[in-house]
């Protein structure tokens, strides 16, 4: 016996060392190869037709997202100091390697084309900063009369000037993000406030803030879960070992990711949280089973107890892990690569945790011992007796009041379906921030003073050369702009029509009567030629191609959310018909539009993956328990959990976004574990207990306790995320907690009643349980 024990200990040490070695290996991979990907553009599926087109159009017209630097002087920006700052900022930006001349737009860089009695004047607004009152008044007059600048670069109330710096996403790094913010804010003074907005800034902040917040929150989650585990299990060794399993599985998951040279995306930062939530459960089950075994067989030897526990636990644990993995693997149906990776590596982590629960934890117990005496004390026995009594009472009450349970369930389901009908998708990046955060306030401020911080590009194409020299086509474009700009969330628009109207006015002595589309295509051609000769032809390249049969119309929107973009699209699409009558096709481009398509893809992928995983789980349960009844009933709690999850989002007005969409996977992944354990144990108890009622009561007592433990631990851990500074992480915490709670409650009430009521595992009227194995 002693020899065996020695051999066992040796094997256990070997197991521990092996696991440690692999962990060290993966840690080295992390240290050497882990790389954070903050560029949100990398999320986009670039082989999707909408993205291919948009990328192409961005290249055609040099469409880039702009960093907006706003300088506010509450008196008026028309003073030497503010004007010199505008000049200095423009020149400094120009000297940065990230920008080309064409990328910087400001009052300093803009051309002022003005019509005079006998001619045309092309000048800069100012070169040397105007000093005298007279010079300042002239500059002010020039600005107000030029609507290519007024309300675009200078606000209507003349207190804010905008400097737009367009840039390629590739150049956007953490370093640049901090550099540009510091640079802009270095121009602040008591008289002048500086605001920095624009999509690159929002993306940059989001790419940095989310993961940074996760990094801060995960340790706290771990500590809270460890504390709760300790309080519930009352065992230091068990708590430590369980925490080690989730810790190791996280390292392995990220280690594999690093070894495969796959960068860490923002969504990947949720992997530890997932692994903690799911992984802790496996450890809890292990110790629960062990404790229960010693409770029934107090004199048993440890090795026998372990063997029995492993034997009893491996099938349900394997099934639990397998079904959870299916839930995450269903994310492979997504077209979004970071989400696919999220599914793959979380699955790998779960598989690791499963393995660790059956190999590492027994080895740990062999090496560090297990005290079985806890529950044999008198008080514990009394408590245990109370728990048993309570469990039995609750079971009895639930079975008696099953009608009430069904009614409540029906009401909740109905409410959820109503809620789901109100779920909306949000592609907004800005919605990820606090309403009072700097970035949101800045965006709001810039939106209140200018056309909008978000852009939508509408690309028109025709087979005919010179199609957009035709006054009919230009008039239609002009009408489209006019109609769309009636929407309150559309602040401005810009097209070839604007250039031509301005040229027409300028060439007709600045007469407002002539702020119209020129009458003939020849006149259009000559104005364009004139503009090229006198203005900056590169500005034209941003809106029209060489053959004049492809043009770019830019709409400025006051929000980057789906509602705003869709509203504008609806209006614009009314022009599809008349345009196509002219042989002109319409397409869309730009980051805002891509984000919209992207969220649609996420939603589409999510619905697919939920359906796929629900069906697979149903099949698996049916196969595992060889009963379609068990399969259907076992799937009920997770189906309801998913319904409630989306329903609550609808009712509470939480939009579906990248983060929230992923939660359905965890809902299914975790929820199914509870059901599997319940069914498995119930089937076993049917074998040992004398009747169905006793079997269900015993299951409620033991498995119910394990499930409750698990739910309490994980929910308390995730509630910590409610204190996160990054709203999506808060939503994640709240929804994971809620999903866990729903699954827990659904399993111990509805599932139990259904299992009992529909006599699952029981053949006909016989009271004897039917065990097939």
């Amino acid at each position: 016996m002693k020899k065996l024990s020695k051999q066992l200990k040796l094997m256990s040490w070997f197991t521990l060392v092996l696991i440690l070695a692999v962990t060290v290996l993966f840690s080295t991979a992390i240290v050497n190869h882990a790389r954070m990907e903050t560029n949100l553009d990398k999320y986009m599926p670039h082989n999707h037709p909408a993205f291919i087109y948009s990328d192409q159009a961005e290249e055609w017209f040099n469409i880039k997202d702009g960093i907006l630097i706003a300088i506010e002087n509450k008196e008026s920006i028309f003073n030497p100091l503010t004007l010199s700052k505008i000049k200095e900022i423009s020149l400094d930006l120009l000297s940065m390697d990230e920008f080309e001349e064409i990328d910087i737009q400001s009052l300093y860089t803009a051309d002022n084309i003005i019509g005079t009695e006998d001619g045309l004047d092309v000048t800069s607004f100012y070169d040397e900063v105007p000093e005298t009152a007279q010079e300042l008044a002239l500059l002010r007059k020039n600005v107000i009369e030029n609507d290519m600048v007024y309300r675009r670069l200078i606000s209507e109330d003349e207190t804010v000037a905008l400097i737009v710096a367009a840039m390629d996403d590739e150049y956007f790094t953490d370093e640049f993000y901090h550099r540009i913010l510091n640079f802009a804010h270095s121009f602040e003074s008591p008289a002048e406030a500086i605001y920095v907005a624009g999509r690159p800034i929002v993306e940059g902040t989001m790419g940095l803030l989310g993961p940074a917040d996760m990094k801060r929150m995960v340790p706290i989650v771990l500590i809270v879960i460890a504390l709760v585990l300790y309080v519930l299990l009352r065992r230091t060794s068990a708590t430590v070992s369980i925490m080690i399993t989730v810790f190791i599985s996280t390292i392995w998951a990220f280690g594999l990711m690093a070894a495969l040279k796959i960068p860490i995306y923002a969504v990947s930062t949720m992997i530890p949280v997932m692994l903690i939530a799911i992984g802790v459960a496996y450890g809890v089950y292990f110790y629960q089973y062990l404790q229960q075994y010693f409770h029934n067989n107090p004199e048993s030897e440890l090795i026998i107890a372990l063997k029995s526990v492993i034997k009893r636990l491996s099938v349900p644990l394997f099934m639990a892990a397998f079904t959870t993995i299916i839930g995450f693997m269903s994310l492979l149906t997504s077209q979004v690569y970071p989400i696919k990776y999220f599914g793959i590596f979380t699955s790998f982590g779960i598989f690791t945790t499963f393995g660790l629960a059956l190999w590492f934890l027994p080895a740990w117990v062999i090496l560090f011992g297990y005290r079985a005496q806890n529950i044999s004390s008198k008080t514990s026995k009394k408590t245990a007796w109370n728990i048993r009594l309570n469990a039995e009472n609750i079971t009895q009450i639930l079975i008696n009041k099953k009608r009430t349970v069904f009614i409540i369930t029906a009401v909740v389901v109905a409410l959820s379906i109503y809620g789901i009908s109100k779920v909306w998708i949000n592609s907004s990046f800005l919605a990820n921030f606090e309403k009072e955060s700097d970035i949101v306030l800045t965006d709001k401020f810039v939106n209140s003073k200018f056309g909008g911080t978000s852009t939508l590009n509408v690309i028109l194409e025709s087979e005919e050369y010179d199609a957009f020299k035709q006054p009919e086509a230009l008039t239609l474009i002009d009408e489209m702009q006019y109609e769309t700009m009636k929407l309150s969330r559309v602040g401005n628009s810009f097209s070839l029509a604007d250039y031509l109207k301005r040229m027409n006015k300028v060439m007709n002595s600045n007469d407002d009567e002539f702020y119209t589309i020129p009458e003939t295509s020849d006149m259009v051609a000559q104005y364009l030629l004139l503009y090229e000769m006198s203005g900056d032809p590169e500005n034209l390249l941003k809106i029209i191609n060489y053959d004049y049969n492809r043009t770019n119309i830019t709409f400025q929107l006051k929000g980057d959310d789906s509602q705003t973009i869709n509203e504008a699209l609806t209006e614009i699409k009314k022009f599809e018909k008349p345009l196509s009558d002219m042989g002109i096709s319409i397409n869309y481009a730009g980051s805002g539009y891509k984000a919209l398509v992207f969220t649609d893809l996420i939603l589409d992928g999510q619905i697919k993956s939920i359906l796929v995983s629900l069906i697979l789980v149903l099949l698996l349960l049916t196969f595992m328990f060889k009963s379609i009844k068990a399969g259907l009933i076992g799937s009920t709690p997770i189906a309801i959990t998913a319904l409630i999850s989306f329903g609550v989002m609808g009712v509470l007005n939480i939009p579906l976004s990248t983060t929230t969409a992923l939660l359905s996977s965890i809902a299914i992944g975790i929820g199914i574990d509870y059901a599997i354990h319940f069914l498995q144990n119930y089937r076993m108890n049917l074998n040992t207990e004398t009747n169905q009622l006793d079997a269900i009561k015993t299951t409620m007592l033991h498995t119910g306790k394990a499930i409750t433990f698990n739910a309490v631990v994980v929910i308390s851990g995730f509630l910590v995320l409610l204190f996160s500074v990054f709203p999506p992480n808060r939503t994640l915490g709240a929804l994971v907690s809620m999903n866990m709670f729903t699954s827990f409650l659904g399993t111990l009430t509805l599932l139990m009643i259904l299992v009992f009521g529909f006599r699952v595992f029981i053949k006909n009227n016989s009271t004897k349980a039917e065990i097939k194995e």
Binding site: S124, K469, D522, Y546
Partner: protein, 259 residues
């Protein structure tokens, strides 16, 4: 702006210079002054095909007819568009003064049937959407730059002086230019333009030159913007010198009557 329109004889470095054999001690400044101070004929006319090509290989082709004269005090030019059809007969006139006054410029748009004066302060503006700025086309005074003779080097079999020119005052659109001037005739054959970040921006290459009526004339030249991957090709044909164009022919009336 010194010149608004392309001048065949004074396309910056394209100037021709006939001199007695250069002494070995010529400085960079002296070489550039010789290039600049090229005498041209009394008047000139010719046809120009300007081809703009972007990075996708799309082209814009424009045909023009150009007339110019120089009486020592003022240089007058008129350009008529021949093609594309929708800008045919659009014309430009430019008077450039030797005393350094701003140029006078007019444009005639046939669709508008009106002549407009144009004034512009944009020296770095690009000429008709091409890769040439007005400064590239015009004759920037050698006095505005410091010139340094770097070395001598053969380009396409021509021994050239290689001269680096850096602006004396800051704020110019080029941080420097490097010019290859053929030793045999003081004709520039190549020039590189560097942006304010000191990166190569554009390369100008002379593809074809010939002596017409005793005057060295550039017949084909290409400007390649390597950063924007955009280029402009100019081809001159039917170049004629000293056809007796009178001062009083360069009028608004001539602009409107067309060719």
């Amino acid at each position: 702006m010194k010149t608004f329109f392309l001048s065949l004889t004074a396309v910056g470095l394209i100037s021709i210079f006939t001199l007695k054999p250069a002494s070995a001690q010529l400085t960079g400044k002296e070489i550039m002054e010789k290039v600049y101070n090229m005498p041209s004929g009394d008047d000139m006319q010719g046809e120009l095909v300007m081809t703009l090509e972007n990075n996708r290989g799309e082209q814009r082709i424009r045909n023009l007819k150009q007339f110019s004269m120089d009486n020592g005090k003022v240089e007058k030019k008129i350009m008529f568009f021949l093609a594309p059809a929708d800008v045919k007969n659009t014309s430009f006139m430019n008077w450039s003064y030797a005393d350094g006054r701003e140029d006078d410029q007019w444009i005639y748009l046939p669709a508008l049937k009106r002549i407009k004066r144009i004034s512009s302060d944009g020296k770095s503006d690009y000429f008709m959407g091409s890769d040439f700025t007005y400064d590239d086309l015009g004759d920037r005074l050698p006095d505005k730059d410091n010139h340094k003779l770097l070395k001598e080097e053969a380009v396409n079999g021509h021994i050239c002086y290689v001269i680096e020119s850096t602006p004396k005052t800051s704020g110019y659109m080029y941080s420097k230019t490097i010019t290859w001037v053929m030793k045999e005739n003081f004709l520039g054959i190549k020039r590189e333009f560097y942006d304010p970040k000191r990166n190569l921006l554009k390369t100008l290459t002379i593809r074809k030159f010939d002596k017409i009526s005793g005057i060295w004339t550039i017949l084909e030249t290409e400007m390649n913007n390597v950063q924007k991957k955009h280029k402009t090709l100019m081809k001159f044909t039917n170049v004629q010198y000293n056809q007796g164009l009178k001062d009083n022919w360069f009028t608004e009336r001539t602009m409107t009557t067309g060719l």
